[in-house]
């Protein structure tokens, strides 16, 4: 079945009239889905796994909701659940802007379509998929959990599909209204950083759930639910509850609120769709008219502070990329946050040890790995200026120095704060010495791994950090490197243990200078080993990092 066969064969197109268009769009969606799955076995497996998991999860939720039937606070819970699902549908298009190409209006611009039938067809096509099925299961389960009596049943039958329709209309309206933003560079940068938002959001939910457990169960939900039960689409689920309790007037108002919301969302969606498809795209206007101005001098303040030669510009570019490149920024922010949270939180909970502070050095040291992969295919600009092992050494050393500029003060800070929280000032020098040695080990192995196991980092999407087919390379690089870094630090660790065991604790402060010098020496050795490998493998590294 080809999508193109269906409409074009009959007459000069369905031209935006009624059911024909709905059929075309639903078939288009199914065809695109099937063709996407046909592309690779991996994609098929991932899709089938996600379907199975979603269905199992939906079945579990459904059972849970059914079991909830008759519980005193069931109404509060299902109303809030509907609210959470609606929020989810709202933010999904912001995080996954390229999620559904069948619904991308920019591809339909040249077709003779009227807005109203188009909206109907797009809405129907949006209902096909795992997400809508999951939402329908949830809405049906929620309605069943609170419905009782004939009136309740009638409201339930209307409310479940209505909830789904409002959710889908909401997500499409948000996506269409923000198309210009989401297809712009800033929007895509935002999507890359969304991984962080989700991670933080997860922590907040986790924290909330724990508080809920302490605060004495579901009764704590009631105040929030009293508000949410009037907000569409949760008001549809609220209507079922109201009808079951006999407040028919309230039930009707709640249901009508959801219907009105659906109508308003469809109207908004249609309006931004028409605007998007008929107004010219202004995103290139700024680029087209730069206005002639003379290029002035631009002595960067940063570059004045950095060393001359190759070291300065390379450090400057590395630091700029940490601030400006969304992928690099996300990696650094995560490393900085986790490097701080793990030792400090453990210390606060009384389960910590000052040695946990080494975690910060370790997390930040990982940023040395796959240095050239972080360049993407722009590595050719570097490759063209490296013509000897000396050049490669300077390049790698400058990148390590840029990293140290942040990592060194940060490691000191985390170690001092951890010692402060624990009140364990005596062990501060040895912990810091160990951190420095570990950092040196990470820089050394990171440089060697960058030269030998470069891999591409895809630039789009928050959750893809390795190009297809290079996952093995990435694992070897990072895990092999971390184990080797640990082994490289073994002498310092051995000395620490020996000093403790041999009751020579008055000499433990020596570990600070020893660790620092040792760390510096092994990172120098690592750079020395990596430099000739880098210079020899420039075309191979370029090929490996250009797959993203």
């Amino acid at each position: 079945m080809s999508v193109l066969d269906a409409p074009a064969g009959a007459a000069p197109g369905p031209a935006g009239t009624g059911e024909g268009l709905v059929g075309v769009f639903v078939r288009l969606k199914l065809t695109l889905l099937r063709n996407g799955l046909r592309q690779s076995a991996g994609r098929r497996a991932a899709y089938i796994t996600s379907v199975v998991f979603t269905l199992l999860f939906a079945a579990g939720l459904l059972l849970g909701l059914v079991a909830l039937r008759g519980h005193a606070h069931a109404a509060s819970l299902v109303v809030l659940l509907a609210g959470v699902v609606a929020v989810g549908w709202t933010v999904i298009p912001l995080f996954f802007p390229s999620g559904d190409e069948t619904l991308d209006p920019s591809r339909l611009v040249m077709l003779p379509l009227r807005p109203r039938p188009l909206i109907g067809a797009l809405l129907t096509a949006s209902l096909v998929g795992i997400g809508p099925l999951f939402t329908l299961c949830l809405a049906a389960g929620s309605a069943f959990a609170v419905a009782s009596g004939a009136a309740g049943a009638v409201f339930a039958v209307v409310a479940a599909p209505l909830t789904l329709l409002v959710c889908v209309a909401l997500t499409r309206a948000v996506a269409t209204a923000n198309t210009r933003l989401l297809t712009s560079r800033k929007g895509r940068d935002l999507a890359v950083l969304s991984g962080l938002v989700i991670a933080v959001g997860f922590q907040v939910v986790n924290f909330g759930a724990q508080r809920l457990g302490r605060a004495g169960g579901l009764a704590a939900l009631d105040p929030a639910a009293d508000v949410v039960r009037w907000l569409p689409p949760a008001s549809a689920v609220g209507a079922v509850d109201s009808a079951s309790r006999g407040s028919y007037g309230q039930a009707l108002v709640q249901l009508l609120l959801s219907v009105a919301a659906l109508a308003a969302l469809l109207w908004l969606w249609q309006r931004s769709l028409v605007k998007l498809m008929t107004a010219p795209d202004g995103s290139t206007l700024a680029a087209a008219g730069p206005g002639r101005e003379k290029a002035g001098k631009d002595g960067s303040r940063l570059s004045a502070l950095l060393p001359q030669g190759r070291t300065g510009p390379v450090m400057e570019r590395s630091l700029r990329y940490i601030a400006r490149d969304p992928k690099t920024k996300a990696a650094w922010t995560t490393a900085l946050a986790i490097g701080l949270i793990v030792p400090i939180l453990n210390a606060l909970q009384g389960t910590g040890s000052i040695y946990f502070a080494c975690f910060a050095a370790w997390m930040l040291g990982i940023q040395m790995y796959n240095q050239f992969g972080q360049d993407t295919s722009a590595f050719w600009m570097v490759a063209l200026t490296i013509s000897s092992a000396r050049d490669a050494y300077l390049e790698l050393r400058a990148r390590a120095l840029a990293l140290l500029l942040i990592t060194l003060p940060y490691t000191v800070l985390v170690t001092v704060v951890t010692a402060g929280v624990l009140g364990d000032w005596g062990d501060l020098p040895e912990a810091m010495g160990l951190s420095f040695a570990l950092l040196g080990g990470m820089l050394a192995t990171g440089a060697v791994a960058s030269a030998n196991f470069a891999y591409s980092i895809p630039q789009d999407g928050a959750f893809k950090n390795v190009a297809p087919g290079q996952a093995g390379l990435a694992w070897i690089s990072i895990f092999g490197g971390m184990v080797s870094a640990g082994l490289l630090c073994a002498p310092v660790i051995a000395v620490t243990i020996w000093l403790h065991v041999a009751d020579l604790e008055q000499w433990l402060w020596l570990l600070l200078p020893v660790g620092a010098v040792y760390g510096a020496l092994i990172s120098w050795a690592g750079l020395r080993i990596a430099a000739p490998r880098t210079a020899d493998r420039l075309p191979e590294i370029l090929a490996a990092v250009s797959k993203g």
Binding site: R185, T284, A287, A288, P290, G291, R292, E293, K294, A295, G296, K297, D298, G299, S300, S303, Q308, G309, R310, G312, P313, V314, E316, R317, R320, Y321, R324, D325, D375, T376, S377, A378, W380, M381, V382, A383, L384, T385, I386, S387, S388, L538, P539, E540, L542, A543, S546
Partner: protein, 276 residues
Amino acid sequence: MQDRAETDRATRAGEAGGPATPPPAVRVQGLWKRFGEQTAVAGIDLQLPAGKFIGLVGPNGAGKTTTLSMVTGLLRPDQGTVEVAGHDVWRDPVEVKSRIGVLPEGLRLFERLSGRELLAYTGRLRGLPGSEVDKRATQLLDVLDLAGAQHKLVVDYSTGMRKKIGLAAALLHNPEVLFLDEPFEGVDPVSAQTIREVLERYTRSGATVVFSSHVMELVESLCDWVAVMAAGTIRAQGTLAEVRGEASSLQNAFLELVGAGSRTGGDSLDWLGGKR
């Protein structure tokens, strides 16, 4: 790596005065590259004269990009040798890399730098002193009409602006040989004219430009030396007149050389332009 301006000026002056023939800008012998089953470049020999505007033409997939990548040291050949200005690209990278400027196709730039920052970075990586980089960058940005966008990130540039900033980065260290892969692809006419003027001025100084394209009219109007590639082999090379031969235009000569006959005619599209 040092700035070549002084030595270049000296050698170019010497060429004008004496009868000594300079080494060819590029000499390629028996160059092969396979990607798995597919042979991208099948044993090509090329000799590109110095001081000329040279066009490497061929249909899509002819192996132009692969050839240019191997010539510039960005891709390792399976077999064969490449010399630029008499120096082997793989054995003597120090001599070669300081003499060439490259604008590849399909590879990114450091896009999170602004146009001016990108030039400053490239120039200083090439070993030019900061003040000199600043001076040259200012002039290049002015000539290429990028002054207004110099503080914008390259990621926000249009295709034409990217090609121009890439060209500026390739010219910054005043190379002897400039390799440009599809420099006019996706570029608007105004930017194309600017690029063209800069390149013509640059070749007049005695430098060599090697560029690939599949737009014959462009090659015909710009180049004085042409190499035709198809299916990984060189079909013809020589001056424009030699390659054109009896044909009325380079386009026709090219179609003959790559063996693409007339595909129009027959009755397969007889409805097109018929009754509506």
